[in-house]
Amino acid sequence: MGNVIKSLKDIGSFMKLPGANLFVTKTEDLFNWASKSSLWPLSFGLACCAIEMMATFSSRFDLDRMGMITRASPRQADLMIVAGTVTVKMGERIKTLYDQMTGPKWVIAAGSCAISGDHYRHIYSVVPGVDWIIPVDVYVPGCPPTPEAFIDGIMELQNIISKGKTNPTFNVSQEALHKESCNSAPLVEPKVKKQKILFQDNFINIEDIYEVSKKLKTEGYDFLNFITATDFDNNLVLTYMFTNYNTNHTSEVNVRLNPDKKISSISDIYIGAEWQEREVFDMFGIKFTNHPRLERILMPEDWVGYPLLKDYKMEQPSLPYRPSREEYESWKTKL
């Protein structure tokens, strides 16, 4: 109670009247005082910074003492802490969540990924900073920010709220981004040096893959480590890796693909291959015949192009939230 009275003294004054105590303040100040002392953040985390955010909420640092309780529903929350890398796929959801929150509402961008995209900023799937999507009030730097930095950021936000000011930073180029068409064709890497196939061992014919994996399965190679592909000059090479649990022996199988990029799926022998093959399809565009659900798995369903091909440019813009490199650089110089 003592603390409450102390903090109330900042915004008004107590008067003693005969038989009664009186507190005089502006309603605006009182509302600001109330909202700064009971910030309810939306509980959602994106990446590593979310772990530090959880640490800040838990035992040692204990944000409850600042009146903060996480809410799972955006409709009950008034603070969004964006902790982690914002991807193009998640960007839409973050926008929706932000729109679902009732005002007045605030946003903290925690960690260098949420601020600027950090070392992922030129990657095709990453939004270079959450302020390309929603307005941000406070930036907390760090990779990830320590709990002390988190608390500092929250106190900074409380300062802003108690002054009745909001100072959101929202990216100015937002308008320009909408003008271009959304599904632009993938950018092509101009000087791409594709190598000839770099390894020669364990190659089999493309027709044999189903039979070979069936044989490996009967030989005790129960464990499918991974399926992946590599983009070489003229050829895509698929690599399968199997392990025998009992003998600890791994067996590598390589397949040279034809230009039609088609190969038989092995997902009915190894069920785990289903997701692995979807990932290879998503990243390389290799079509697996007889696959139960050959859809994109990591990228959005309407994505154009296959990111891990060598001539796919890393800086691929994706509108409305991911700017092209030129737009990003020109925005940076304006700051």
């Binding site: 590593c48 890398t85 990453v126 464990f223 499918l224 480590n225 190894y270 069920i271 785990g272």
Partner: protein
């Protein structure tokens, strides 16, 4: 008396869970098709944290990649860089000093404990709800985790993205203060972990909610490529620290806990027992650690000088989630031509689509939590 049917058929209900749901342990979306309380069909959507690490690494020198990889599986960052660096070292035939190897394992095992503590703590939230009894388990686990992070901070200067490993050795050394702190940590953690183990394994509510839930048979695990505590919970004795010993795990005596039934209870108990085994390893490291240099490589003038020979190589390590492997294709330059990360969470999580149909909706979070996925690792 006649039995009257009072339930009305409301047909198929599709319930969306995620990607910001607190119980999905990150950004994961499940579309559950329900029939009453039972799940009929599951569609899962991932990729909400796809950061293109594999594409990015094709533009980075080998020495620049480990810090980026540490952001991948953010609950046990060291095992990421350890796996990558082990692959590079066996490609280039680089031997590392024994002291460096001991220090690598020290950090990796400390982080294994902290990772399992986060898994257990958040599992408590899944089972009990934030305002129910689960929150106390969460708070206890995070309290112990902070102690571990203090030790990591005293050794490496950062709380968990330690950046300890580099090709040829390690960056930081143990000093008197950090050795003392590690000793203190062991004597503090041991009774605490034993206490939680006793409480969890005898707690009636915990047993009722997890035993017999989400049973994965031995056969199913191997078909899905499951590894780590998920495979060991189902009775598969497969741990790369023993089966394919990397670094100097052969110098230490420890056991691999194995479950029997493969249910959510077994997976949690395997994780808890593993933390105790990790403590054993840390104790032995502190007793046995030899003196010597930290790195076998001379300080480099340029990161461009590390050029593995042409060809492909695959090597894997045991992360807290399972087999974390790196398949690297080198074209003889200072950057990888292609790097594939074999993520344990990705394979472990793929079992979800098979496990959930037929169970109750309340068990969905129990099953998902017991697989302990980390979405930085799933989506990469």
């Amino acid at each position: 008396m006649e039995n009257k049917v009072i339930e009305q058929d409301y047909g198929d209900l599709a319930l969306n869970m995620g990607p910001q749901h607190p119980s999905t342990h990150g950004v994961f979306r499940l579309k559950l098709h329900l029939e009453g309380e039972r799940i009929k069909k599951v569609e899962s959507y991932l990729g909400y944290l796809h950061r293109g690490v594999e594409k990015l690494s094709e533009k980075l020198d080998y020495d620049m990649i480990p810090p980026v990889l540490e952001r991948d599986d953010y609950l046990s960052p060291t095992s990421n860089s350890l796996g990558f660096i082990n692959t590079i070292e066996s490609m280039c035939n680089i031997e590392i000093p024994q002291r460096a190897s001991y220090l690598r394992i020290l950090i990796a095992e400390l982080q294994r404990i902290s990772s399992h503590l986060v898994a257990l703590g958040t599992y408590g939230l899944d089972l009990g709800g934030a305002l129910g009894g689960g929150a106390s388990l969460f708070l206890y686990c995070f309290r112990e985790r902070e102690k571990i992070l203090d030790v990591l901070e005293s050794i490496t200067g950062t709380r968990f993205h330690t950046n300890m490993n580099q090709v040829g050795g390690v960056r930081y050394d143990l000093n008197k203060i950090s050795t003392k702190k590690t000793h203190e940590l062991i004597s503090y953690l041991e009774p605490k972990l034993n206490q939680y183990f006793d409480v969890i394994s005898n707690d009636e509510i915990f047993i009722k909610r997890t035993r017999g839930i989400g049973i994965i048979s031995k056969d199913l695990v191997s078909q899905f490529g499951g590894s780590g505590p998920v495979a060991r919970g189902s009775g598969i004795n497969y741990d790369l620290r023993k089966n394919n010993a990397y670094e100097c795990y052969n110098d230490f005596s420890f056991e691999i806990p194995i479950g029997k039934n493969g249910d959510a209870y077994d997976r949690t108990i395997v994780r808890m027992k593993e933390t105790l085994e990790s403590l054993k390893i840390i104790k032995q490291i502190l007793d046995k650690i030899p003196d010597g240099p930290l790195s076998s490589r001379k300080p480099l003038k340029s990161a461009k000088l590390l050029k593995p020979p042409k060809g492909s190589h695959y090597k894997s390590v045991e992360s807290p989630r399972g087999e974390l492997g790196f398949f690297i294709v080198s074209d003889g330059t200072s950057m990888p031509y292609r790097m594939k990360i074999r993520a344990p969470s990705f394979s472990n999580l793929s079992i979800v689509e098979k496990l959930l149909p037929g169970t109750f909706i309340a068990d969905a979070v129990v099953i998902l939590g017991s697989l302990d996925p980390v979405f930085g690792d799933v989506d990469r």
